[in-house]
Symmetry: C2
Subunit: 284 residues, 2 copies
């Protein structure tokens, strides 16, 4: 399944080589500033000479690209990176210097664990202008499709977003900070580290009975939700043979999906595990 | 200025009375699941009998509503609430029971400090089915337009979202948790409490020199950014006579906009204060 994050919104970098800015500005400003939900993204895509895209971009979006546009796949899946981040940065700079109109197409939002800041910085340092169209980040889109409001009065007054995808040299997650009560925790790309997330949060004071859910391929027709307690979730996820991409949501708001899930019509019905209810249930 | 949050994406609740679901499902599933960035929101709006909308919805979006649709304004501005949340909840239930096709149109994302969970819960408890289309929440959209990536390797490995808008009986913010290093803090609706936010975070250990910015009417043509340090921001914001709606971003990532801001072409140039640079600068 290629399209989970893209389904919830694709972020687009418009990378504009110096001197070509005027080509874009008139219609871009008109449409983006005054009505983004109606924003004709097809027109942005249609203007591309080159599209550099990631793993989580829906084929339906790629299908809208003009035939003449060169497509470059720069996807990074766990253990299968086509390019390093440095190579992607250099590619964007190099293409822009050739005067190409580039669309950098990413799943989700480029500035929330999307490394969009690093790419933007590389462009800025090379003196290349660009535009950023924010996307719907997985936390928002996937949780909504799962019937979980990330904030809710009296249940969660804050929401913290972290990534479970770590590289060598990264600082460890601030377990003590994450384990503070009253906030919803969203872990991006956390499947591989789920057992550790559960263990550390409990060790740092979060109740083992805190409601928690892991959602695979959220917002797609292949969405699967496994819900239970913080202590029990790793075992349930293993039993369900979940695969990336996933999103983990931890906190009392997870309980709301038991009420909301049955009335949401956002997704086609599909069976999933929900041990908190004691039975498999259909996901809406 | 009425349209800040709407400009960054409007969330739509499709509230569907029991029995009318079939009207929506076919095209809804087709378009939403397979290509949301191309999703013809105009068609959703076009199907509405009644639209219940908030303050932060762009007039350009309201202009797309069919003439026959009844519009109900349920906006809440500081100190000027047309309806209480309970009244809004009851209104939605009552309209759905009359068999109306309702679009509940909110600025931003309904499940991030949008009280969408409360409305959805009221509907679910009344046995009314609905759909939720996630929006782009202010943190993502406004920060991106301001040239601030909310996460960035080595600068911020986590991002916490809180609201400065409190009501009687709400727990105080978890200042100790917010003041932990290594995360970006985003405060929604924080202008009135900015002085307190600054004081409490410093009292709880955050460096007074932590970069911080407050953005008024982010993503609109009237966007204004005031940037400085956590300690100095309240005075700068007062000098600039900022008005709601605003978004506050605190953390080392704020520094990136000094590099990125000059190369972003997301907004028309407009002067704003940036004391960190020592001079007024143009916002891109």
């Amino acid at each position: 399944m290629q399209r989970a994050a893209a389904i919830i919104g694709s972020a687009i970098f418009l990378v504009i080589a110096p001197g070509t800015l005027a080509v874009y500005v008139p219609w871009y400003l008109t449409h983006w500033h005054f009505a983004p939900p109606l924003f004709p993204i097809a027109r942005v895509l249609g203007a591309a000479d080159v599209v550099v895209h990631d793993h989580l971009v829906a084929p339906e979006i790629l299908a809208r690209l003009p035939r003449r546009a060169t497509r470059i796949y720069a996807g990074k899946q766990r253990g299968r990176h086509t390019m390093t981040q440095g190579e992607i940065n250099r590619l964007l700079v190099s293409l822009a210097r050739q005067g190409k109109r580039i669309v950098r197409l990413k799943g989700g939002d480029p500035f929330i664990f999307g490394r969009g800041g690093e790419e933007a910085l590389a462009l800025a340092r090379a003196g290349i202008a660009f535009e950023v169209i924010p996307g719907i980040t997985a936390a928002t889109g996937v949780a909504a499709a799962a019937g979980i409001p990330l904030t809710h009065r009296a249940l969660a007054e804050a929401c913290v977003l972290v990534t479970g995808s770590r590289r060598k040299g990264d600082a460890d997650l601030d377990w003590e900070g994450l384990a503070r009560p009253g906030q919803t925790i969203v872990v991006y790309m956390g499947l591989a580290g789920l057992e550790r997330v559960s263990r550390e949060l409990i060790a740092h004071g979060l109740s083992p009975r805190t409601p928690a859910a892991i959602i695979q391929q959220g917002t797609t027709a292949s969405q699967r939700i496994v819900a239970g307690t913080l202590a029990g979730l790793p075992r349930l996820a293993a039993q369900a043979h979940l695969r990336a991409p996933t999103l983990i949501v931890i906190g009392r708001v997870v309980r709301l999906r038991r009420v909301l899930g049955g009335f949401m019509r956002s997704l086609p019905a599909r069976p999933a595990l929900d041990r908190a209810r004691g039975t498999a249930q259909r996901v809406r």
